[in-house]
Amino acid sequence: MTDSTSLTFKSTSTNPRFEAAYSWSKQIFKTLTLPAVGIAVFLVLWSASSMNIKTSLGQFPGPVAVAQQFGTLYDEHMESREKEQKFYERLEKRNAAKLAKDPNYQAKQRKYTGKETFVDQIGTSLITVMSGFLLAAAIAIPLGIWMGLSTTLNAALNPIVQLFKPVSPLAWLPLVTMVVSAMYVSDDPWVAKSFLNSMLTVTLCSLWPMVINTAQGVSTIDDDLVNVSKVLRLSPLTHVRKIVLPASIPMIFTGMRLSLGVAWMVLIAAEMLAQNPGLGKFVWDEFQNGSSQSLARIMAAVVVIGFIGFLLDKGMQKLQAWVSWDK
């Protein structure tokens, strides 16, 4: 179909209006039609092959089953929210009633302890990944800048960075868990230990791409720009602020994008392994649960994980376009 339209457009391409329309239709074809075809083919292949896969939990879910699960997951979430609201209403009523009888009554503030829903888990994972990533950035970017400026520091730290960079999150996790439970003792914890474990594991894994890229960006700044700074006798701080930072923004962002991708992958794995709240735990729980719906629910989680990863990268790209000068 598209072929025949493009042919008619081509034959009249001497007319500028048609030319514009032709290039516009080509654009649409590339940005909308082709991806749609790709997705359609994927869905067909998926549903065809899923019919031939039988597991102990029943048939492997096809696209339709997964789509249905999205609905179910959402309903479950709304239901849980409703329950929660009712719970608090009841609590309040009871407290009010008791307070009316006895003015000295200390109102009880209990918390609702329902099971986290899928949507709650998404929220938890997002907060965890952003916290871990931001902490990593707060350490990695200044450290990277320092390493890029000082060949001495770079020589001293480079082996350590290279050594830790390829370490899998699964190796960090037990260490982080043990250290956190030993060090983070508080009667009234500010954040949950499980959150801290996931977050620190994310931080440890997403530090390195940012350190490496920032250091490289800083150390490869054009000599001429450095000479300008020297002639102007900029103070070290002004030099970093006015020359080094803007000059290495592109590389810093490359590192940040790499790191955020790593962070998201690491988090899901860490949540699964440690059964810390989040999407990873959701997947693990469904796997343990082993109901006939489990595989479809896991598949739904997989799609969401992928989509969030994609959105995180897009967001980072937008941020990069917004702050950087080399567009």
Binding site: D224, V228, V231, L232, R233, P246, W325
Partner: protein, 284 residues
């Protein structure tokens, strides 16, 4: 009597993987206040090295530079540099590039309004006031070079150092820039050291032309005084006998006394030598 700028018996050796390389040997030059000096010589002879030593970006192996009775030990805004490839900060507009220098040099001694006025004044000097808010990637090579000059001038330097400021420009833009520079020089009477490859440019602009011998161990070969009256006009000078005498003196120095094997590969031998020279120049 001591000169305003005294480049005193400078030697410069660079450590290289193949051992020490002596780029400069006993470069000695005295410059008066307000003088316009051209440095001319074949590629790779060491002109940039001399300039960098005066700028303080390189430290001479022996000898030294004395400016206004003070020894030059590090770079500073009183010796502003116009770099060969403009070296504007690509993320700042023309105005902001000059502003960075002005704020750094004058700090709090100028009010906000004065600062703005001074930046705009300097951009006007180089005829760039119409494109102040454009970033370097939005303006032509000649315009970038002009902003670079405005930035240097705005620092009110004691010495203005220019490394082939017009080297990358086409002939027309170049002529225009030379005229602008003469105008500015007439007005401000800066002390200038300018590196050039262009004989006409050297004669047109300078009070003295310093001709350097070929490296390694390059040094000052001859110094030619240019006593042509100012303001100078390139068209009128084309017929001038003194101008032509000076011009041929420089050409004689470059192409007879300091003759370099030219890039015409007549034999395998010359070719080998040339590629050697090229790689030496490229490594600079």
């Amino acid at each position: 009597m001591s000169a305003f700028l005294d480049i005193s018996h400078i030697d410069m050796t660079f450590p290289t993987p193949k051992g020490e390389f002596t780029a400069l040997k006993d470069v000695n030059l005295q410059i008066k206040k307000g003088e316009f000096i051209s440095l001319i010589g074949h590629s790779g002879c060491g002109k940039s090295t001399v300039l960098n030593v005066v700028a303080g970006l390189h430290q001479a192996t022996s000898g030294g530079v004395i400016l206004n009775k003070k020894e030059v030990k590090q770079p500073g805004p009183e010796r502003a540099v116009v770099f060969q490839n403009h070296s504007l900060l690509p993320w700042l507009s023309a105005y902001q590039n000059v502003e960075l220098a002005v704020k750094q040099v004058f700090g709090n001694s100028k009010s906000k309004a004065e600062t703005k006025e001074w930046i705009e004044h300097n951009l006007k000097l180089v005829h760039m006031d119409h494109a102040m808010d454009k970033r370097p990637d939005e303006i032509s090579g000649g315009m970038k070079q002009r902003v670079g000059i405005a930035r240097a001038l705005a620092m009110e330097p004691e010495v203005l150092l220019m490394d082939e400021p017009f080297g990358a420009l086409d002939a027309l833009t170049r002529a225009h820039m030379q005229d602008s520079l003469m105008e500015i020089q007439n007005e401000l009477n800066n002390t200038v050291i300018m590196i050039t490859h262009d004989v006409d440019e050297a004669v047109l602009l300078s009070d003295k032309i310093v001709m350097m011998t070929n490296g390694p161990a390059a040094t000052v070969g001859e110094i030619l005084e240019v006593n042509l009256p100012r303001p100078r006009n390139r068209l009128a000078l084309a017929e001038d006998s003194e101008y032509n005498r000076l011009r041929s003196a420089v050409l004689t120095f470059l192409y007879e006394k300091q003759r370099k094997v030219e890039v015409i590969p007549t034999a395998a031998k010359t070719e080998a030598k040339n590629s050697e020279d090229d790689s030496a120049a490229a490594s600079a």
